[in-house]
């Protein structure tokens, strides 16, 4: 088995649909896992809610908990107005969470460990924020960048800083998710690699190999925490940005 910690992020082409405008258009392992994530989410939610019993079964109560958890988050950060966007936010949360968790299976590909994917998600969020903001408030949405009660001489600087701050949102949103998933999986692989290397170095090495093995176990648990946490942070920040679009006055 390859002991290269970066190799797990390799995009592998499975079959090609041909070329579109000089660009290769192919089914890759990344897109397979995206489809798998969507299939897992739809399959689970549809299966869990099919019974619709008053006293929920185990699967149904997981689905209900997920729903009410995100619904509460949306309501507490954007108010009841934001519930119009609940389907989008719930989908986003479940997609990111499922991709993160699918990546925790050995030999599985982690979709969210690629910056293109997370940046595309972040840009989808920002596009929605801009469209909603301008649709609701028109040009007055730009008042988001002009804070009240700032002395005239420094107002241009503050406005510029506010614009940069707004532009940095998709970057921080995508970088955080991508960085966490990438770094976590590399560290996991490196420590797991130590176990193999030390085990090959005789009896002393094999005994010493217990240490990196324990570390791998701890890191695996930590990665599960990070997988859930980053999906949640992504969702909360989407709500916060959406709140800015709905109520652009600080």
């Amino acid at each position: 088995m390859a002991n290269d910690p970066i190799q797990q992020f390799q995009i592998v082409e499975i079959f090609s649909f041909g070329e579109i405008g000089g660009m290769e258009f192919a089914m890759t392992n990344s897109s397979v896992f995206m489809i798998a994530a969507v299939a897992v989410i739809s399959g689970f939610l549809m299966g869990a809610t099919r019974g619709r019993t008053l006293v929920p079964t185990r699967a149904q109560s997981v689905a209900e908990l997920l729903y009410s958890f995100i619904a509460n988050t949306v309501r507490s950060t954007t108010g009841t107005e934001g519930m119009k966007f609940f389907p989008f936010i719930f989908t986003l949360f479940l997609f990111v969470l499922t991709c993160n968790l699918l990546g925790m299976f050995p030999y599985f590909f982690t979709v969210t460990s690629h910056l293109v994917v997370t940046f595309a998600l972040a840009m989808a969020v920002m596009t929605m924020v801009l469209v909603v903001g301008f649709a609701r408030h028109g040009v007055r949405f730009l008042e988001l960048f002009v804070p009240h009660g700032v002395p005239k001489p420094i107002l241009p600087f503050i406005t510029l800083i506010e614009v940069i701050s707004f532009l940095s949102r998709p970057i921080s949103l995508s970088l955080r998710l991508f960085g966490n998933m990438l770094a976590g999986h590399i560290v996991l692989k490196v420590f797991a690699g130590f176990v193999v290397t030390m085990g090959a170095a005789g009896v002393v090495g094999a005994v010493g190999g217990v240490l990196p093995f324990a570390m791998t176990v701890i890191l695996t648990a930590f990665e599960f925490l990070i997988a859930g946490l980053q999906a949640f942070v992504f969702t909360v920040l989407t709500c916060v940005y959406l709140n800015d679009a709905l109520h652009p006055h600080h």
Binding site: F157, L160, I161, E162, I164, S165, L167, S168, R169, I171, S172, L175, R176, G179, N180, L225, I226, L229, Q230, F232, V233, L237, V240
Partner: protein
């Protein structure tokens, strides 16, 4: 009569300690959740700041490239990006503080 009162007192004590026992796991779970939220907040603050500086640098670089004002655009926009990163960070921290005070009445 006196023994009755003593008995009642004893039972009350027993009940109090039982209630305390029942409520303690709740507290432990709370601090556990706060630990996870703390990691989340730490990642958030860090990336928020880095993103501000990155966007500032990118804007400055593009500004210089199109207007040929090397290196002034980069210098000015890098500083502005630093400011934006700080602003992002302060906002995130303020929001987190507000959330915490909402959770615990009277504690900041």
């Amino acid at each position: 009569m006196a023994t009755d009162r003593d008995d009642l007192e004893k039972r009350l004590e027993a009940l109090k300690s039982k209630v305390a026992e029942k409520t303690r796991p709740q507290e432990i779970r709370d601090t556990g959740q706060k630990g996870a939220a703390g990691i989340g907040l730490a990642f958030r603050l860090g990336s928020e700041f880095v993103a501000g500086v990155l966007v500032g640098a990118l804007l400055g670089w593009a500004f210089d490239r199109f207007l040929g004002t090397t290196p002034w655009g980069l210098i000015v926009f890098l500083l502005l990006g630093f400011g934006a990163g700080m602003l992002n960070m302060v906002r995130a921290a303020n929001a987190a503080n507000a959330e915490r005070t909402d959770d615990e009445p009277g504690g900041r």
